[in-house]
Symmetry: C2
Subunit: 415 residues, 2 copies
């Protein structure tokens, strides 16, 4: 998919970092999603990120759809990063990591808890190299506690955090299982929290000189999203239950099917909006129907209500349905696929869909930077590089690493 | 629900702030979820937060289940905040806001774009009062672009960000609509991003003296979670589709029903794990079945595969099923409700479930702090206060606000 030229962002690799974190240097000892997403966000905000991969590369390089022999995801997941290889199981790698740590402000990792310490890279060793280092660790269940050594699977952390239970149709509606949120939500939210923890600790360091340890658990990151569920349970014994496409406390708000099979979300969960919708449906009397008068009654009869609305929506193609809702000023949207997002005028106007030049893949679409901070570059400075692409440049800039030493590391299989 | 005494955290209101953001002061002009969640996170990390509410209070005070006349959620949502009232529509409020701004490092708001400017609190006015202020704005679609003035409904932003489409059973499986992620995911993720933006801008300010503007859109925050969906679409025209309780690219990984009706998540999506599971099911021959040999074949036949696994799980009660999976070392968990979370030994060991003393509600359960940063208080310093509880203390500490002036503001209905 091509964007019009005036919506094309040109990437100039090596462009000087801008953004609020320009001047900070982050070392990533990560793989898969959580830690690399944290450092991607830090890089998007201007930090210099050095990612360490095993010589075979991070498995994400092959995840999802493939294009020209690699994953388009990689172009985004590793943008604004310099990628070097190190076989951390080789004894020679440890010293290289410590030499890198000496030049960095923070380290972000998502190995199993305790694994870096087993490799001789425990906290004391890292602090001996860089006393004010900020160390952020992402794991399934946290760095301590009885379950810290359990294997971390994203879907399991999400289920333990309470989100899988709540992402389901209402009890009694279907025998189908609860739905997975369609993305790696646990890893991603943990990654954002890790980025927040790193920046907060760096801010403290700026004033006190003190380093810090950030400990983010995937299960806890998900649990943090559960609003009032815990205090409500504690106070009332109420166990929150799922409510399908609706909201447990407001109606109508759901996705309804159009004649041509598109799901259209309608949020008419206030008295004036519901009156407008009933009129638009040609059934103004519904607004006065005691089953649907007031939010509480509508919630109590939500299945009948949604059924009536759906019986109306299936008589209209999506375009006509959207036009009618727009005309009546009722909040709505078709349920966007990524194709809808890529074409959306607001997303484009905000630079959230950009075409950039990838050295390996050619022109490729990248999402924009979130959060937008004034002065943050709106375009990526670089796309995800090849395995070990920056070995010579990054190591060569370390004191004492001349060409012969780098060649020796390569010879020993450390790189 | 009571925790055992040794798991009880006592709250001492007024406890001195600790945590990496101690010493920073944040003004919240927010309501509902997104901006208040951002400032709750900043407060959890040690910042002093002053929340401005209309004299009637933030509607969230009444959201969700009620207990002793208020929402248990409020105890958590407004913890570590001082709450003052200001009727921003009254002319006298503007000067009070500016006097507060002069004492603060950052302002976080989620009014409609442009609304604060209409109240005489636009960027230039705020900067005139505090030139290096960090201003963070959360909105549905961003501070500019053709849709900036559209009403922001969380569910609509989530649908535009692409998550509603992906959170559904696979096409052709059911006529039921896509599922809402069972929490205010868009508001919450936007809130975390806003907190990240604030702290990043404060870090830059520490080095440069420069303030900053943070602009977070709910729709874009959700879109940021879509992994490789955009570059895959751009390169290949591939539109990512939902896959129910499973993962599109790995199998088996789903929730399966026990005999006693509990959903148990099983993640056996590797060759050794799948062999173990087939053996545990008493059907080791399935591992060699060409339909299920290798991940690609299992994904292609995932409905048959899930059906076979479910036919086994429904023969066992959840406790027996979990014991069997644990014995075979196959990653699994029951799908946690909030009751399961509250009882979970790991969550308790990590301080993620704490009993605190709420001045209005009595003992109440609070979730712990995410991310955990060493030195961050593990217990909240205070619970969500009553409307206007801190009017006198906060205003009285401003230069020039004596008792007579505060009384006059109260008289005018500004407070």
């Amino acid at each position: 998919m091509d964007l019009a030229p005036n919506q094309t962002a040109a990437v100039a690799p090596g462009t000087e970092a801008r953004g609020p974190l320009a001047g900070f240097r982050i070392l990533e000892l990560g793989h898969y999603v959580a830690a690399p997403f944290a450092t991607r966000l830090l890089g998007d905000l201007g930090a210099e990120v050095i990612k360490v991969e095993p010589p075979g590369g991070d498995p994400v390089r092959q995840w999802g759809a493939r294009y020209k022999g690699s994953a388009p995801w990689w172009s985004v997941h590793a943008r604004n990063k310099r990628c070097i290889t190190l076989d951390l199981k080789k004894p020679g790698a440890r010293e290289v990591v410590l030499d890198l740590v000496r030049t960095c402000d923070a380290l972000v990792e998502n190995h199993r808890p305790g694994q870096l310490a087993k490799m001789g890279l425990g906290e004391e060793v890292l602090r001996a190299a860089k006393p004010d280092l900020v160390i952020a660790r992402v794991s399934g269940y946290g760095q301590d506690g009885p379950d810290r050594d359990k294997a971390a699977f994203g879907v399991i952390g999400e289920a333990i955090g309470g989100l899988r239970h709540l992402t389901n149709h209402a009890p009694g509606t279907t025998d189908l299982p609860p739905v997975r949120v369609g993305v790696s939500i646990g890893d991603s939210v943990a990654g954002i929290y890790a980025a927040l923890g790193v920046v907060a600790a760096l801010l403290r360091r700026e004033r006190t000189g003190q380093g810090g340890e950030v400990d983010v658990a995937l299960s806890e990151s998900i649990f943090s999203l559960l609003e009032g569920a815990l205090p409500e349970y504690g106070a009332l014994g109420a166990v929150r239950q799922p409510s399908g496409g609706g909201i447990a406390t407001a109606a109508p708000s759901n996705a309804y099917r159009s004649r041509d099979g598109v799901w259209v979300l309608i949020a008419a969960n206030s008295e004036p909006l519901w009156r407008k919708l009933a009129a638009l449906m040609g059934q103004p009397e519904l607004a006065a129907d005691p089953r649907f008068s007031g939010n509480q009654q509508r919630v109590a009869h939500v299945r009948e209500l949604d059924g009536l609305i759906n019986a109306w929506t299936v008589t209209l193609d999506a375009a006509a349905l959207e036009a009618a809702l727009r005309g009546a000023d009722i909040p709505h949207t078709r349920v966007y696929t990524v194709a809808d997002i890529a074409a959306d005028p607001q997303m484009r106007a905000r630079g959230m869909v950009q075409q950039v030049q990838d050295g390996m893949l050619g022109p490729i679409l990248h999402p924009g930077v979130v959060p937008r901070v004034d002065g943050t570059p709106n375009a990526p400075r670089s796309t995800g590089p090849a395995v070990g692409a920056d070995n010579d440049a990054v190591l060569g800039a370390l004191p004492g690493y001349d060409a012969a030493r780098i060649a020796a590391l390569r010879e020993e299989g450390v790189l």
